[in-house]
Amino acid sequence: MITVYVPRDSSALGLGAERVANAIQLEAARRGTAIKLVRNGSRGLYWLEPLVEVVTPGGRVAYGPVRPGDVAGLFEAGFLEGKAHPLYQGLTEEIPYLKNQERLTFARVGITDPVCLEDYLAHGGYRGLRNALAMEPAAIVEEVTASGLRGRGGAAFPTGIKWKTVLNAPAGQKYVVCNADEGDSGTFSDRMIMEGDPFVLIEGMTIAGLAVGATRGYIYLRIEYPHAGVALNQAIEAALQAGYLGDDILGSGKRFQLEVRLGAGAYVCGEETALLESLEGKRGMVRFKPPLPAIEGLFGQPTVINNVISLASVPIILDKGGKYYADYGMGRSRGTLPLQLAGNVKRPGLIEKAFGMTLRELLYDYGGGSASGRPIRAVQVGGPLGSYMPESQFDTPLDYESFSAIWAVLGHGGVVVFDDTVDMAKMARYAMEFCALESCGKCTPCRIGSTRGVEVIDRIIDDRDRAKNLALLRDLGDTMLAGSLCALGGMTPYPVLSALNHFPEDFGEKSVAQVA
C-alpha cells in the first residue's frame, strides 16, 4: 500500500491541508486505490504548504503547494508513483532549503506521525531517556552543561547551570515547567515541535525531571495553539500507557507526571516568573528576583523553567552526548538554532542551522529575498523586543555575541522581513503600543513610559516640536532600559531606538547616509 503524507500542522491546515487530505481520500476511494494517509508535522517549507509527500522506492517525493482542486490532476499524473506534475518538487530530502539544514532538534518533525509512539521509537526516540535512566542526576546535568546549550526562550542562559541549581536545592517537591507561551511575533518553532514531534518535548522534560529530582511537570501552553494542545495531550496519554511517564518510568521506579495548562492571551506570561504566577492561578505579575525560580519557583518550590526548544534539544544531547551537540556552532553559541523566517519573504519557513550563518545567507539563500520582489529594507530579529536591522548589518553572523555587540538580539530566533514600503516610525510606535498593552503594570517606566512613548512618537510623526520630542523619546528609552524590572519594559527601547538610529529619515531626520 502506498503511503501519502499530508501535514496536520496548523499553518498547513490554515492553507487548506484538511480539505486536501479529504480530497485525496475521496479520490483514492473513487479510483479503488488503497492508500495509507499519514498526518505528519510540517517540514517547515511553508511556501510549499500544503506539502503532500508520497513514499516511493527512491524515497519521499514532494508536491506543493497542493490545493484541493489539484488532487484529481495529481492522481491522473501518477503522483502515487512519484511522477511529474507542475507541483512536483522532487525528493523532499533533496530540496536545497531542507538539505542544507542541520536538523538536530527538528530531526523528526515532518517525517513521523507526531502522535505515534512506535514511529517516534523507530526514529531514535527515547534513546536519550534510556541513557539518562542509567545515569546519576549529576551526570545528566553534566552532559547538558557540556553541550553548551543555552536557553532558547530569549535570555540564552546556560541550561546546565540552571539545572544544577535546582538539583542542589533541597526540597520535598520540585517542578519542571515548560514555557510554551511562544508570544514572540515572527516565531513558530515551539508550535512546530509541539504539533510535529510532541514526544521529543515530553522526553526532554522527563530527562529534566530525572536530572533535578522533580516528579511533576507542567507545560504552560498559549491558548492560541489549540492543535498543539491536542497533539501534546495525545502524546502524553500514549507515553503514559507505554510506561514512559507515570509512577514507574520503564520499570526504574522513577516517577514523572506531566500536565498541559493553558495561558489566556497575556504576552507577559511568557516571562518566567509571571508564567509561574499564572500557573498558580494569579494575575501574571512579574516577580522580583531573587529568589530565582530555581530556588523558589512554582508554589515556592525549586523549579526548572525552560523554553520548548531548550527542552526538546535535551533528548539528542543525552542520546549522542554533550560533545556531539557542542561540535556545532561558533564561539559561545553551541549547537543549532531553529530560525524562523517570516514576514515579507519569498520562502518563509523553519531553518535549523548551527550558529554562525550570516543574516544575509538566511534572507537570500534560504528566503530568496522579499515576497513582494521589492528590496528588503529592514528585518526585526528576536521578536517584538528585538532590534530592527538595516541592510548594512546583514553580514552579522547569527550568534548571541555578534548580535549583542551591535545592540541586537537573537532571542527565540524569529526573523521578520520588511520591504522598502515599511514606515519605521510606525513600527517604533507599534512597539511602544504593544508594551503599553501588555505591561503587567508593576513598574512605572514600562507602564507609563510606553504610553508616553506612543504620544511622543505621534507628535514626531505629526511634526510637532520634532527636535524636542526626539530628545524626549531617547530619554524615555534610557529610562525604560534602566528602570524596568523585566525585559518587556527593559527591551522595548530596542525596536524603538534601533528604528530611530538606523532609519532616522522615517522620523523626519537626515538619513544615516546623509549624516555620513
Binding site: S11, L15, L262, G265, S278, G281, R283
Partner: protein, 159 residues
C-alpha cells in the same frame, strides 16, 4: 440592565471538577468560557467561594487576561493578527477591510450576533501571514477576498 442567561449547572460542574487542582483558577475560568462562551460577572462569587479567594481577586485575574471575557460573544470569534510579521504582509489594509465588512471595531459583536472581532498578537502562523483565527482554526494568506469567502461560508452554514 437585563442579565444574560447562562447555564448555572455548567458553571457549577466546571468548578466542582477543577477546584482541587493546584492553581485551579485559570483552569476553572477556561472551563467556564469553553462551556458557555464567557465568564458571567455573577458567577464570580461562586468561583471565589470555591477557591477561598475574594471576589476582587477573581475579578483581578479575569480582567488581567485578554482572552477572558465577561460578556457573551458572537457565534464565531474572529481573532485578527496585528503583530509584526502580519503587518509586513499588509495586515493593516486587511484590518480596515474586516472592520468595514463586519461593521464593527475590535471588542465588538455584529448586530446579528454572528461575529465578534478581537485583535491578537501573533498566532504562530507568521510564515503564512497575514493570519487570523476563527474559533479554533487558523487561516493563512488572508486577503480581503478570502476573508469575505470564509465569512460567507460560515454564514451559510449557520443559515
Amino acid at each position: 440592565m437585563t442579565q444574560t442567561e447562562w447555564d448555572r449547572d455548567a458553571v457549577t460542574e466546571v468548578i466542582e471538577q477543577k477546584k482541587s487542582m493546584p492553581g485551579a483558577l485559570l483552569p476553572i475560568l477556561h472551563g467556564i468560557q469553553d462551556r458557555i462562551g464567557f465568564i458571567p460577572e455573577d458567577a464570580v462569587p461562586q468561583i471565589a467561594k470555591a477557591l477561598n479567594l475574594s471576589r476582587a481577586e477573581v475579578h483581578g485575574v479575569i480582567s488581567f487576561y485578554h482572552y477572558f471575557r465577561t460578556t457573551a460573544p458572537g457565534k464565531h470569534t474572529i481573532r485578527l493578527c496585528r503583530a509584526e510579521s502580519c503587518q509586513a504582509m499588509n495586515a493593516e489594509s486587511l484590518e480596515t477591510h474586516v472592520k468595514a465588512r463586519l461593521g464593527i471595531d475590535y471588542h465588538e459583536t455584529t448586530a446579528d450576533g454572528a461575529f465578534s472581532l478581537e485583535p491578537v498578537y501573533c498566532l504562530g502562523n507568521c510564515a503564512c501571514s497575514p493570519s487570523m483565527m476563527i474559533d479554533h482554526e487558523v487561516y493563512g494568506h488572508v486577503s480581503p477576498q478570502s476573508f469575505d469567502a470564509i465569512i460567507d461560508e460560515l454564514k451559510e452554514v449557520a443559515a
